[in-house]
Subunit: 328 residues, 2 copies
Amino acid sequence: MIHRNRSSTIADVARLAGVSIATVSRVIKDAISELKFVPRAAARTLASRRTNTIGLIFSEIGGAFFPLLLKGIEAETRSAGYELLIHSTQAAHAQKRRPLGEHNTDGLLVFTSSLEIEELCRLSQINFPLVLMHQTPPDEMNTPVITIENKDGAEMLVSHLIEKHARRRIVYMQGPEGHEDSQWRERGYREALESHGISFDPGLVVSGEFDEEQAFASMRQLLLDGIEFDAVFSGDDDAAIGVYRALKMANRSIPDDVAVVGFDDVQFSRYISPALTTIRAPIEEVGREAVRQLIHLLNGEQAQSLTLMRTELVIRESCGCSPKEVNP
Amino acid sequence: MIHRNRSSTIADVARLAGVSIATVSRVIKDAISELKFVPRAAARTLASRRTNTIGLIFSEIGGAFFPLLLKGIEAETRSAGYELLIHSTQAAHAQKRRPLGEHNTDGLLVFTSSLEIEELCRLSQINFPLVLMHQTPPDEMNTPVITIENKDGAEMLVSHLIEKHARRRIVYMQGPEGHEDSQWRERGYREALESHGISFDPGLVVSGEFDEEQAFASMRQLLLDGIEFDAVFSGDDDAAIGVYRALKMANRSIPDDVAVVGFDDVQFSRYISPALTTIRAPIEEVGREAVRQLIHLLNGEQAQSLTLMRTELVIRESCGCSPKEVNP
DNA sequence: CTGAAAGCGCTTACAG
DNA sequence: CTGAAAGCGCTTACAG
């Protein structure tokens, strides 16, 4: 049984006002408080062929990353007068129902590989407004992308470890398979090694999955295997937590025995001990910009095909810098 | 200009199949892949008078609290086959548009005072399915509530400080005005004082707003004013971060000079230094349960009018207990 | 089990 | 500026 109240319709308003419903429809913006009239969104959508809703597809709402992104998206969506419909997928495999799409939104924001490629292509083919975050589209697709300077960031991080702290055996923890952020970060890692004359050792690349538990497990394994290393680039900040745990458990001191650096600069990074050296990614701004580009598309305007956001090195203590050199 | 593709409708499917649209409608659940047919949600909603969507109204998506709640809500909503529409309000004052309501959802989940009381009453009067989280409804409203043992939790926390660590001048930082969680926590704080024969000092109650910055500011003020205290119950974990900062800046050691305890046990609490003693609230489960109760309402079934979730003391280091006594 | 038809509550050309 | 009317794409009694 479902809600079935007899609240007023546009016809009631028209009758009371002694005008036609067309007239009411035209002035509907000035909320008709008399009858507590709230226009049915469904009827509007059906008649106008627009939903006034933006959809967000995201894969992992668990970590510390999501609130930042959502904050930006929420704010910008609202100020543009749209509703926000959110769906979080566990993985990017085909679903029976399409939770978000052309049937219930005007456009979609898609975060990294949270939508299977076929669906992405289908939406693109029917010219459905789409903006990708942290993921470049397949060649034939001309979809705006908002992403960050992953490679630069990683390079800064690793170069800092090499130059300031003389580390040479640096572990890289990869993110989830196919995750573009991770691929670019690895590239930055490799280029930093190369430009400092350190040869790449595939034995130092392990899986961290941008996930605390997985990072913990991989770190333990590395330790068990007796692999030598003097630094860890954990891929992201969530994974750094797992690295900390494993190192502390093995009585390796951070940063003296092993320097650790993350990526993202989420809320907790400055508060863990030692404070985490990481890359600040303007995540909230990524969200805002994604919405802005989508609105352009919705308005039939041109959108920027690539927006690349700057990243910034945030030096704290986990790399080996001392607290005194560092801003509070 | 808006998206206006000519994708197939139910009529196309009916024609191709050589049956009536009524027949198609009946078997529509077996997704008609032939024409890539995706039923228009708006038309369905309009005709069936149900949206298949649950709305979530929340006030602060900034903190570390939201991801936990959302995770539970997301999971349960999806497994029940509903969509989730989210709106976050800055404050609970009247809005011109009603972002979420009977016009676009089948039922609403409302988190603490994120919806103005008039709107709450209006929805209740038209018998619209509603579940409140962390907020008891006005007397005349019979709306299911999911909340946690705030008072018990606070009492455990404060009693611990008094009994194990001999603290007697304990600051309490209030949450936002009218926030029920905060009111109950304050009550627990007072009862713990009382049962240990410590008289209540209103000078030790300050505003923390469940917010890092506000907590930081209040703590600084307390320090500037030269108020004496040997412990702080910060109201929640986010505020504890601000307290840490202010104390460290003033060179007061935690926990030796000042013990600090929080509430919620969010992700970062175990990782900050010193690790935060706090109350574990089953936030994800609050979200799940709220959805379950709402589904009952949607099905015309009886719902539990009050669900009170247990809280649990999590002892770490910031209260003065030593790491050795504590689980890793 | 199936089809014809009314109806959900709006918007929007179109005519006046 | 206003009204009559068609139409948005479905669902659901109702009749057969």
